[in-house]
């Protein structure tokens, strides 16, 4: 206030009531930057994404390996894509939980009072969390490699598989973001999300081949989108092929975002 400039409304200044697409992207990226700063300030938030891939990969491989595939090495091409999808998608629950915690803080009032795109605080938070999915993905593949997994598809296809899983998890995190916005407390977000996700990840082909399951269960496994994602990752990593499953996964992800992004933003706007 040392400056003597007078603050008044400049009638010549163009004040628009709409935010442009460019501004929406810029606002979201700034909010994502905020998310990254927060992760840097509180690295303990990353415990789950670092420990879960290591522990789960070790545990499931050695428990199921012998029984399902005869030995651990021949089970790895089955379990690594499965555990990857399961771990990364479970990680996306945290996005919803943290969003709820974040929204309870006063800073969200300021975001709402700023002339920014309404979707930016949500989109930014979800975008920043892709860093978590990336960490989980890299660690799961690394654990597999240490245990002797050598994907035949080659590094390039493994990378494509990684991007696919990260993208699909980002899409699914919109569901948990929606729970995060409508729920009262962070722990209830965790609760609802686990109830949804637990059957989805286990009633799939992620850990065991579906052949031995009863018919009705096989039917569910075959329509479960998680199964398609797991199959798409197996195709890419183990044989370097792109199948119809990848198409289904991408379409599914797009549909989730198309439905949940707008209703999440609307719920966020209504909740004050």
């Amino acid at each position: 206030m040392k400056s003597a400039t007078t603050v008044t409304v400049n009638p010549a200044a163009r004040l628009k009531n709409r935010t442009s697409f460019g501004q929406t992207v810029r606002n979201s990226l700034t909010m994502a930057y905020r998310g990254l700063l927060k992760i840097r300030r509180t690295p303990e938030q990353l415990f789950d994404v670092t420990l879960q891939p290591i522990i789960f990969t070790l545990m499931f491989t050695y428990i199921f390996g012998g029984a399902i595939s005869g030995d651990v090495i021949s089970y790895l091409p089955v379990i690594i894509p499965g555990i990857l999808v399961q771990t990364v998608i479970t990680t996306s629950i945290v996005t919803g939980v943290q969003l709820r915690e974040d929204m309870d803080k006063g800073v969200f009032d300021r975001f709402k009072s700023l002339p920014i795109a309404r979707i930016a605080p949500l989109a930014g938070a979800l975008l920043a969390d892709t860093i978590r999915y990336t960490i989980a993905t890299v660690l799961t593949f690394s654990m597999g490699y240490i245990m002797g997994y050598r994907p035949d598809g080659g590094l390039g296809h493994v990378a494509i598989a990684a991007v696919l899983v990260i993208f699909c998890s980002w899409a699914i995190s919109w569901i948990f973001a929606f729970f995060g916005v409508i729920a009262r407390t962070a722990s209830s977000v965790q609760g609802i999300s686990m109830i949804v996700l637990f059957p989805l990840t286990f009633l799939s082909n992620a850990f065991v081949p579906a052949d031995t399951m009863p018919n009705w269960l096989q039917w569910f496994v075959s329509i479960n989108p998680i199964s398609h994602l797991v199959t798409a990752v197996r195709d890419l990593a183990n044989s370097g092929t792109v199948g119809w499953d990848m198409g289904i996964s991408l379409i599914g992800a797009a549909v989730i975002v198309a439905i949940f992004a707008p209703i999440t933003v609307r719920a966020y706007m209504r909740r004050t």
Binding site: A4, V9, T19, L37, V107, P115, I116, T272
Partner: protein
């Protein structure tokens, strides 16, 4: 009246910073705000005064586009808060009752992010952040995480964040609640400087002396409605030109002293419960001589006596028929709902 305002506004290019009429907000069946109308002239400090749960925060939240009014309308520099909310957001800065800054980040990071969101470039944001931290005496603490900030530092940072875009209208929701007297005085100084640069400030407070100190005009809100509006002097004048304060040595003599006061001055007196202080409005300070003689003759010994300009506490008491401080305790439950 309304049409006249419109015409005047058109002629002078919008001299009203805030025009609100009949704002209503319901929380369940509770009418938190029940038909509030306010007009705030550009370039002034406007105080909204009321006890906890009176509807101050809810009113501000509606004006700042954070809550949608259930009825009524409000315009900020002529722009409707519901229809042109994104325009309104470009004209306002909001400092909430609870610091609306990011706890997990440092002061600089907070200001840089808000600057970036407001469309400033990377280098420009850094410069703006430094400038504001300097101005608010936070440079030394710039890199520390906010968790270690005192309440006063947090409020200052919060206010700094509201000033990034130099908004012509600034909402301050209880800017000094919970601050120690020294920090409070600093905050007042900052707010006064703000208005010198041409900004309009709308602040809420439950401290009567704060409104007295800062505001050009005051609206007294009680139970969701405006019960009085005017300049500080107008409000004070409505309770009389001066007021008498008496304290007696013997608590037993309070009633006798009151009778004498009421007989000599010909007015109603009141007693504050906690301190046993008798207060009464006084039209003519000269009458105090007669009163003192009467009291001596009546055998009432005084421990304290003063004649003052009426405080806003008395204004509040006269308008609402209740003590502002008593009411704050009684409606504690209501306040919770307001904050949600």
């Amino acid at each position: 009246m309304n049409g006249w305002h419109q015409k005047e506004k058109a002629a002078q290019g919008g001299q009203w910073a805030v025009e609100a009429s009949g704002l209503v907000k319901m929380f369940g069946s509770n009418r938190a705000v029940d038909g509030v109308s306010l007009n705030v002239r550009a370039g002034s400090i406007y105080g909204v005064l009321g006890p906890n749960g009176a509807g101050k925060t809810t009113t501000i939240r509606m004006l700042a586009t954070l809550l949608r009014p259930d009825a009524g309308s409000a315009r900020i520099f002529g722009h409707d808060v519901t229809k042109e909310s994104q325009v309104v957001r470009q004209l306002i800065g909001v400092t909430g009752q609870y610091a609306s800054v990011d706890e997990s980040l440092s002061a600089t990071e907070n200001l840089v992010i808000f600057s970036r969101l407001l469309g400033l470039g990377r280098a420009e944001s850094r410069r703006k952040a430094e400038e504001l931290l300097e101005e608010f005496g936070l440079t030394e603490a710039a890199k520390r995480p906010l968790k270690n900030f005192s309440g006063g530092m947090r409020r200052r940072l919060d206010l700094a964040a509201s000033l990034i875009a130099q908004p012509p209208l600034i909402f301050l929701d209880e800017p000094t609640t919970g601050l120690d007297p020294r920090t409070r005085a600093q905050m007042w100084e900052t707010i006064r400087r703000l208005v010198k640069t041409g900004s309009t400030v709308l602040l809420t407070t439950q401290y009567l002396d704060e409104a007295d100190q800062l505001a050009d005009r005051i609206a007294v809100i009680d139970r969701g409605t405006v019960v009085a509006e005017g300049t500080v002097d107008e409000l004070k004048a409505s309770v009389g030109t001066s007021s008498l304060h008496l304290r007696v040595q013997e608590p037993l003599h309070i009633e006798r002293a009151r009778r004498i006061v009421e007989r000599v001055l010909g007015v109603q007196s009141s007693v504050t419960s906690e301190a046993g202080k008798i207060t009464a409005p006084m039209a003519d300070a000269d009458r105090v001589t007669d009163l003192l003689i009467e009291l001596r003759e009546g055998g009432v010994r005084l421990s304290e006596m003063s004649v003052q300009k009426p405080t806003l506490d008395e204004v509040f008491l006269t308008i609402t028929g209740r003590d502002a401080s008593q009411d704050a305790g009684a409606s504690g439950g209501q306040q919770k709902e307001e904050v949600v």
